[in-house]
């Protein structure tokens, strides 16, 4: 074991720190922020993205020949650590583009597709949404029904998607369609890159329990998309998606957000009175704060163990579900504990005069289910662990 960094890595850390001291827009209002206020600070964020891009820090580990940074895993971790502790905004604005669309195109895309799509992702000029889920398909993603029929050099798409994050703001969708209903479930699926302004696409926002509309239903009525927009071969869509999602899971666990939430919870507990004493003096609260800290540190360290294995050239697969589950548990616990710390005030809604911290915690309490359920529910993660790591039989 060796937790030191090389001279080169330390130099990189200094470079990141100096950059952050000069350029951090400090707009990272973590938690409690609705989509509208996020949009207000968009110009600042775009400038930040541009500055990062010039440094080669957006798409940090992507190959240089597609416009990425060509960086190593340890430097990427340092970059994330430093941005995290400076509470800088997320690295790169196109979350889905950077997390899985880009890596998918880098691996399966044609040269034209790489040239066309990668630069706008890195510059945050085009935003993506993900057309995977369908009504009724839920965790059984491969049961999807949305279909594409070949008509000359076009696909004609009919069907519906749901739970599409940020569909109203995206210019492009990475879409899974069934191109062959006769072959077995996983083999008739194809991946297509679809412009959201195509005639025949209708986007209907879904209002969630926190009152916002981060998701939408997307309807396809004979939408024509050029065959040239297919990512990978026809029928290869499942493989492309598995690669894309594995890429998402292998990204170093986003511990920073949890660390900040915990720091803020401790601050909250020091300010709030609960049953006649400060919440931070209440053993019930203290035990839970300490337990949270222990889980977050476990997540951080398990992430480092996986990173070491990747550096040694080993595959890390289903193991990453371990951290996904911890993260889910922590999200739920933040939602519970924050309101309990506030005591009676925890029941106040955002917008109320006496609400604590502008209603940030209430917002979190109503927003975590989207993170916890999206991308595989905890129960599905447990199935993955049980079947792939423990060798138990499939459901």
């Amino acid at each position: 074991m060796d937790f030191s960094f090389s001279e080169r890595e330390e130099a990189f850390r200094r470079e990141v720190r100096e950059f952050l001291a000069a350029s951090n827009p400090n707009t990272g209002a973590e938690g409690g922020e609705d989509i509208e206020s996020a949009m207000d600070r968009l110009p600042k964020l775009l400038a930040w993205n541009q500055a990062l891009h010039e440094k080669g820090w957006v798409g940090f580990s992507w190959p240089k020949d597609v416009g990425g940074g060509g960086g190593g895993l340890i430097e990427q971790m340092i970059l994330k650590q430093e941005c995290g502790s400076a509470r800088a905004p997320m690295l790169g604005l196109s979350y889905m583009g950077l997390a899985w669309v880009g890596p998918g195109i880098v691996k399966y895309g044609s040269d034209e597709q790489k040239k066309r799509f990668i630069p706008p992702i890195l510059k945050a000029e085009e935003h993506w949404c993900t057309g995977y889920s369908e009504p009724g398909s839920g965790s059984d993603l491969a049961s999807l029904q949305c279909k594409a029929v070949r008509d000359g050099d076009h696909y004609v798409i009919t069907g519906q998607k749901i739970w599409t994050s940020l569909a109203m703001w995206a210019q492009w969708m990475i879409l899974l369609v069934r191109t062959d209903s006769s072959s077995t479930k996983h083999h008739g699926i194809t991946c297509v890159l679809v412009p959201m302004n195509s005639p025949g696409i209708e986007v209907k926002p879904i209002r969630t329990m926190n009152g916002e509309t981060p998701f939408a239903e997307v309807f396809f009525n004979d939408v024509r998309v050029p065959v040239a927009n297919r990512l990978g071969a026809e029928g290869q869509g499942w493989e492309v998606t598995k690669h894309a999602l594995a890429n998402e899971r292998s990204s170093i666990a986003e511990v920073t957000a949890m660390v900040h939430a915990l720091e803020d919870l401790k601050g909250l507990a020091a300010r709030c009175s609960r049953g006649g004493r400060r919440a931070i003096e209440d053993p019930f609260v203290r035990q839970r704060l300490a337990r949270m800290e222990t889980m977050i540190e476990a997540m951080r360290l398990t992430g480092l163990r996986f990173l070491t294995r990747q550096l040694r050239g080993e595959e890390v697969g289903a193991e990453t579900s371990v951290n996904k589950l911890l993260r889910a548990e922590l999200e739920v616990e933040i939602g519970r504990l924050s309101l309990e710390i506030e005591g009676r005030y925890g029941g106040l809604a955002k917008g109320s005069a006496a609400v604590v911290d502008g209603g940030r915690w209430q917002h979190q309490m109503l927003s975590w289910p989207a993170y916890v359920i999206g991308g595989g529910t905890p129960n599905i993660q447990k199935n993955v662990i049980a079947e792939r790591l423990l060798g138990l039989p499939h459901d």
Partner: protein
């Protein structure tokens, strides 16, 4: 940056595994745990031949000079096998001698500990179950012959097997540590009967035990800071054993869930069972990460208390759950004497409170941050 074991450490792990599978399967553990002997001397000698007692003792005193993280490799495997042995208590005492002893004291004791000839253990905790400096009340009074010790120690790890006690005593305003041979006049050792019979502990009474000034480790009344760090290192190996035991409990229940059929299916196909097993795995891997890091921290950080506390708190929770759920997954078979599930459960229940409960360590973690 590298958070993983080296090729040498992997080799050590494999060697330990082979030995324990051959020499200490659970049938053997069951024999040892019902034996009246203080410990299994045959097993002890074989481990000494492999150099396990010498592992963390510096080479100039006959040891192998390895790091605490190497011992943690061994401890985890020992926990998987529920190894009933004073090995880790002995290592903690050796660490105290290394950290606090004079050259003369080290030369006197360390070579015979390294060879396995002398079994040493720390005698710190008392009736109050208070792990702090204030908890030490056993009195060291100056006397013509040197120092006279009077008082009682509780839960002395493997006290019935020890040849040497390192005794924490109140001396003036502070705490001192004395190396006291178990055969000294005035010492009475009474074995305690523990719920977990695979480990041992004793009550040790010191009734007017006279020791020389030269048996004091370090300065008079100044032992606590160094002793506290030694206790932290001991806590890490205990936590490593607990992670190993939790992993073994998980494997036992998993194998059972694959073969036991109900309603025409292996029970491991039912989500009620497979999800529980997955949750145990999350706990095992998470606490393992914390324990490995803490094992590095006790050798490399000035203050490793926070890392140690997190490791012990999570390992306790992990083994507790693995033990309980392991029994439940076995159904009614799980609470029979013949089924091994109860061995892990008992280990978890007892070790939870050794070296501090999760609640104690949660509080200590916050205290480290001034909260």
């Amino acid at each position: 940056m590298e958070f993983g074991f080296s090729a040498d450490q992997e080799q050590l792990r494999a060697q330990v595994r082979r030995f324990l599978d051959a020499e200490c399967p659970l049938e053997r553990v069951r024999t040892i745990m019902t034996s009246r002997e203080p410990h299994d001397t045959g097993l002890w000698k074989k481990m000494a031949e492999l150099g396990w007692q010498a592992l963390v003792i510096p080479q100039q005193y006959g040891g192998l000079g390895l790091a605490w993280e190497d011992l943690v490799v061994l401890a985890e495997q020992a926990g998987m096998s529920l190894l009933p042995s004073p090995l880790l208590a002995d290592a903690a005492a050796a660490r105290a001698l290394c950290a606090m002893g004079s050259e003369e004291q080290k030369e006197r004791w360390l070579p015979s500990i390294a060879s396995g000839e002398t079994i040493a253990t720390l005698a710190v905790l008392e009736e109050s179950d208070d792990l702090s400096e204030n908890g030490v009340t056993l009195e060291a009074a100056s006397s013509p012959g040197g120092v006279t010790l009077g008082g009682r120690k509780m839960f002395v790890p493997w006290g019935q097997a020890a040849d040497l006690f390192l005794v924490a005593a109140r001396e003036g305003a502070g705490v001192s540590l004395f190396a006291v041979p178990a055969g000294s006049a005035g010492i009475t050792v009474t074995p305690l009967k523990l719920v977990d019979a695979t480990i041992r502990a004793a009550e040790v009474v010191f009734d007017g035990v006279v020791v020389q000034d030269s048996s004091r480790l370090g300065e008079k009344g100044r032992a606590w800071p160094a002793l506290s760090r030694v206790l932290d290192a001991a806590t890490v190996t205990l936590a490593a054993e607990m992670v190993g035991a939790a992993d073994a409990a998980l494997r036992l229940a998993t194998e059972y869930a694959k073969v036991r059929k109900q309603f025409g299916q292996p029970i491991g196909r039912f989500q009620g069972v497979k999800h529980r097993l997955a949750e145990i795995l999350v706990d095992v891997e998470s606490s393992r990460s914390l324990v490995y890091y803490a094992s590095w921290a006790v050798d490399h950080l000035e203050d490793a208390r926070a890392q140690v506390s997190m490791a012990k708190a999570y390992a306790s929770i992990a083994l507790d759950r693995a033990g309980e759920d392991g029994i439940q997954i076995h159904g009614a078979v799980g609470f029979t004497w013949e089924c091994n599930a109860h061995l892990y459960y008992k280990r978890g229940r007892v070790c939870r409170s050794i070296d501090g409960t999760p609640e104690y360590h949660h509080e200590r973690l916050l205290a480290c941050q001034g909260l």
